[in-house]
């Protein structure tokens, strides 16, 4: 007798959704598994978060390709659940639903911010540089991205902050082998970046960045380093040893063409106001009685991620609940953790699903994909459609680049399935993702 195998819908094709598909497939070789993705292209922040010059990290995509190419997991791209397919319709037609939709926005600052000052999220910035079709950054009247300016502040001390610093201070000719969006990068860096002041609330010993991320910045030929806020000597702490030799803010070398990157530890932003054309960041520092002011062109916040439902055309995932509904990835972990941590959690969530299913705690016998096929038919891009986009992106890469991403959804659609979407697909089917 063949064991009954459930029908499974996974919402979101980022690492969390794909790892979950992987573990559930191992348990149930014949179950129907479908991964729904709002964009025509898969893999979430593996494609749009992980920095364009860290291609090695993106290589896990080969595992996920295999799911769709060989292991009979279905990719339903360009289907935003909550917009193109009601959550209720989905949840009533699949035995098991896994929400792996991630988080859509930068968290920003808790400090008081004058709305006319220039503050943007590191997630939005890195998404843009990764060629995301939705750009949530200020534009010039001619449609180009507004240059970030010469003096920048980065708030946050995690790896996303380190990615931001590296990408904004690395020589433009040093992006070989990446798939950075060159046009956007040169627009954002149209004015030569002279300084980046980096603010972290914690002491250096608790700063969240990985040592290897710091070393990468220290090794850039194009930067000089400065440090403030080292309140205690920490023998045996490698980051302390690497940074303490640079104590005191990096010298303001006007003649120096390098970017001066100054790490301020134990520095907490109090407020952001406007001064002339610039933004004024006021910071409380453990080493000083009075708050310090930093006048910069742009403040970039790398303070974590959250879901802003008011901005999502897909409704509020918090309302997506049910006995057969599970959550994983950044959605369940509040935007924390690396790609590999999603694998660990996906394994645990899959185990919980399997246990509940086997105990008879979950409903069974939903109709599965066939029941919703008609609803999504006008939109859906299958895995072959994505492979068409992928081949196109690889084939049109500029010299020294591994890929050139297509940055608008209508063009993606017309390359994915020309006969279905025609050459002039409308851009109405875009949801606000960032």
């Amino acid at each position: 007798m063949v064991e009954f195998q459930p029908s499974i819908a996974i919402i979101g094709s980022g690492p969390a959704g794909c790892y979950t598909a992987q573990f559930l497939r191992k348990e149930w070789p014949h179950a129907e598994i479908c991964v729904f993705e709002a964009l025509p292209v898969p893999y979430g922040l593996l494609r749009y978060g992980v920095a364009a010059d860290h291609q090695g990290t993106k290589a896990v995509a080969a595992q996920f390709d295999r799911l769709f190419e060989r292991e009979n997991v279905r990719f339903a791209g360009n289907v935003a659940v909550g917009k193109n397919l009601a959550f209720e319709e989905l949840a009533s037609n699949f035995d098991i639903v896994v929400l792996a939709t991630g988080l859509n926005s930068d968290r920003g600052l808790t400090a008081e911010v004058d709305p006319s000052s220039r503050v943007l999220g590191a997630g939005s910035l890195l998404k843009a540089l990764n060629g995301h079709p939705e750009v949530d950054l200020p534009l010039l009247p001619n449609g180009a991205l507004t240059p970030l300016g010469e003096r920048l502040a980065v708030v946050g001390n995690g790896n996303v902050a380190m990615d931001t610093i590296r990408i904004l201070s690395k020589p433009l000719h040093n992006f070989q082998g990446s798939d950075v969006d060159d046009k956007r990068l040169s627009e954002l860096r149209a004015e030569r970046v002279r300084s980046i002041d980096v603010f972290g609330r914690s002491p250096i010993s608790n700063a969240k960045f990985d040592l290897s991320m710091l070393k990468e910045i220290l090794h850039l030929p194009s930067v000089t380093i400065g440090v403030t806020g080292l309140t205690e000597a920490l023998e045996g702490c490698q980051r302390y040893q690497l940074l303490s030799q640079h104590e005191s803010p990096a010298s303001d070398g006007v003649s120096d063409s390098r970017v001066r990157v100054t790490f301020h530890f134990e520095a907490d932003p109090l407020c952001v106001s406007k001064r002339g054309d610039r933004s004024l960041l006021t910071v409380r520092r453990s080493t000083q009685d009075l708050p310090s002011e930093f006048e910069v062109d742009t403040i970039i916040t790398a303070t974590g991620f959250e879901n802003k439902h008011c901005e999502a055309a897909t409704g509020n995932v918090e309302d997506w609940v049910g006995k057969n509904v599970f959550r994983t990835g950044w959605l369940s972990r509040n935007g924390k953790g690396t790609v590999a941590e999603n694998r660990r959690e996906a394994k645990a969530v899959s185990q919980a699903i399997i246990t509940q299913f086997k105990a008879g705690d979950l409903p069974v016998c939903a109709k599965g994909f066939a029941a919703i096929e008609k609803t999504i038919e006008p939109y859906v891009v299958d895995f072959r459609g994505w492979k068409n986009i992928d081949s196109h992106e690889l084939a049109t890469a500029n010299p020294d680049r591994c890929r050139r991403k297509i940055t608008d959804v209508p063009k993606m659609l017309s390359i994915a399935a020309p006969s279905k979407f025609g050459q002039q697909a409308k851009s109405g089917n875009m949801i606000r993702m960032v």
């Binding site: 080969a62 082998g177 040592l211």
Partner: protein
């Protein structure tokens, strides 16, 4: 029977192990996939022939499922003089400690008496070459020898 042991953090080593095991089977030998976290190190000597695969994390450290395997080998110190193994490592050459993980594990296996067959294979994620291809090309080179040893 060739045991294909893998330790991983983001799953790449598992994929390499699956492809290597599949290639061995397609070539007419038998292969068994063993996640390192499920491996009883006191039975390792009896395996006769193993392919050992691991990635590298942190600053040249072992990935999460290799670490406990390594720790129990180091603690129990089984006599592995009856074990022959081939080694394949995953890493990323943008890190200073490129591919350190497999070297650390191989060194301990040799210290415990195991004999390494062939050169350590390596996949560099920064190079953009497909992992499957690199892994299978590597095992193809050594399979005749491994097959002879397994017989």
């Amino acid at each position: 029977m060739i045991k294909v042991l893998f330790g991983t953090e983001s799953g790449n080593s598992e994929m390499a192990a699956e492809d290597i095991a599949q290639y061995i089977r397609d070539s007419g030998e038998s292969a068994q996939l063993v996640p390192m976290e499920d491996c009883d190190v006191s039975e390792l000597a009896g395996a006769g022939l193993a392919i050992v695969i691991t990635s590298t994390y942190g600053e040249g450290e072992l990935p999460e499922t290799t670490q406990p395997f390594y720790d129990s080998l180091a603690e129990i110190r089984p006599d592995l003089s009856a074990l022959k193994f081939a080694a394949f490592g995953l890493g990323d050459s943008t890190y200073e400690t490129y591919g350190n993980g497999i070297d650390v594990v191989s060194a301990l296996l040799r210290e415990l008496g195991a004999q390494q067959v062939g050169d350590t294979g390596r996949h560099d994620a920064a190079k953009g070459l497909a992992l499957s291809q690199v892994a299978v090309d590597w095992v193809r080179k050594y399979l005749p020898e491994l097959g002879r040893l397994a017989a």
